[in-house]
Amino acid sequence: MLERKQNCLQESRGQGLLGRDREAGGYAGATMTVTGQAESQPPILTRLRVGRARSPASAQARRDTRTGLVLVTPALAFVIIFALFPLGFGVYISLTNWPLIGAYHFIGLANYQSLLHNSVFLQSIVFTLKYTGIVTIPIFVVGYALAVFVRANRPGTTVFRTLIFLPYIVGLVTESYMAVVELQPSSGSVNYVLSKAGLVSDTTAWLVHTGLAVTVICVLVVWFYSGFAMMLLMAGMQNIPQDIYESARVDGASWWAAERKLTFPLLRRWIALSLIISVVGSFLAFNQFFIMTDGGPGTSTVTVVMSIYDTAFPQMDVGLASAMSVVLVIVVGLITFVQFHYLQRDTD
């Protein structure tokens, strides 16, 4: 994915450069192409330039290189220090028996071997995958329907978009706390309303039964997240050139046919994007479970990230937690890759 990204990045960069260089007289564009493609050729460039008395340009290029590097260095430093280095460091730690305090030794792949027998961790993977499977489709379907509803600029749409998006803005952490209060047996609003409607007993303890807890968390997450899916898919829908619909209508296509045969296929990339983000996000779930069930009852709602957190902090087994993190990175990478590859193939 990154490779593609960089390719198109370079494409567009190239276009930008050409556009600007044309005004600058053309030669700078040629210089750039050469420096860009073959990194070891400055002497030739210098000769060319000397021949045509263009040394100011090369000084300018050198200045540009220096300034550019200086400008991007802080960002690079942050990313390397706080993201890339920890990733490598994590792999290293995972090969040790690193306790939070005290000396450590190399123990090879022992942490990974013990993961194979770590029932809490294995169960957390299965549980997180199940949870991801349950919420993905409702989020997508609700998000898509909402996007269809708000994509055109009609009176009121701007307000509707804002309101539907509010749960996402407020954040799942705050909403989980509110849900905890409202899900209490005998006092919470949820039981009050549902028992008046005759659906559940007033004393239903939602958060202490695995099935009930997962159900309410899934409902909460779909409610929280579908506004985000809506925004993304709506942006994609607004990106489709409208004349296509015009000609479809001339051909007598119904709204539904246009939606099915035009919008949906043209939206493939945006659908892929929204699914990848939602699947990866669900697989990394932590907050709502930590706050609402704390993994319980027992360890039945422990997610992968929660089992990493529990292993690293309360149990202080950093080596094992890092091995779990490496597994997490691999699983997330695989999910992204598979989804992207699959949906990409369909589009191309």
């Binding site: 420096t35 990313v79 890339l84 460091f89 749960p167 942006a235 983000i277 890092s322 997490l328």
Partner: protein, 314 residues
Amino acid sequence: MSTVHSHQDSSVRTGTSGGPAARATRRSSSQPATISSGRSGRHAWYIAAGAAISVVFVVPLAWEVFRSLEPESAVSSAPTSQTFTHLTFANYQTLVSGQDDIIRNVMNSLIVAILTAAITSLIAVLAGYGFALFRFRGSGVAFGLVLLAFMIPFQAVLTPLFLELHFMHLLNSLIGLALFYTTFNLPVGVYVMRNSFRQIPGELVDAAKVDGASVTATLVSVLRPLILPGIATTALYAFLFSWTEFLGALSFVTNDRLFTLPVALSNAETGTYGAVNYGLLLAGSVIAMVPCIIVYVALQRYYVRGLVSGALKG
């Protein structure tokens, strides 16, 4: 992906995008008879449906604001007829005066969120400037590295980062937390800022150069007004991210005087400070919710843009 890139900025300004509006106009003009009654009827239905949908998303939040104004006894016991008539700020008063002293936590959250927004914006502006307007060897690789940070879920580097922050004496530090948040907001910020700089007409940059303006002077006096929307996007995105972040704040800060608001509420929830008090928990949640809503409603145009370009990168 490249088409997505090139179109994203026009598409994201949801309010002004011409396409769908044009389509709606065309549609209605193609039905010459009974336009006015049909159209207004459709509009009424549309508004009614939209209002019904919005209720689903907004009423639960509004309901919690109402509930937080009930006395603690009403929050924690079965509703009675009194529940809906007796409103009070008691929960909020307890919250700001009691031993839980939530003001400190709100301040911690604010400090971290503002620091994160400021550092992220500054560094993203510099990097965006460098990536967009200067050509240099390795620029593609450098940009790729910054984007790579977006694909590393921070949840997955939690433990090594904990140790690293420990060695750097940045555990239990609001600055450490802000640096961590900055890192994971930078990919979005750099991406947004690079696009902002790219949209500036080349003539303007060249003219500044010809006039002999230095790199800094060009940035500060010539380009600044043009990139302000991008900065707003970056800062807002970073602010809301750190205001609502939980796992990092929970892991990297163990001193309860430095807890951010979401983590402090988790103590209120589990009753670490004594008996569980759901009235306080609700009032605290409302305090956490209100800044998000205000900031978002005031600046939503910028937020949605950042959101979509952030998504596009991933």
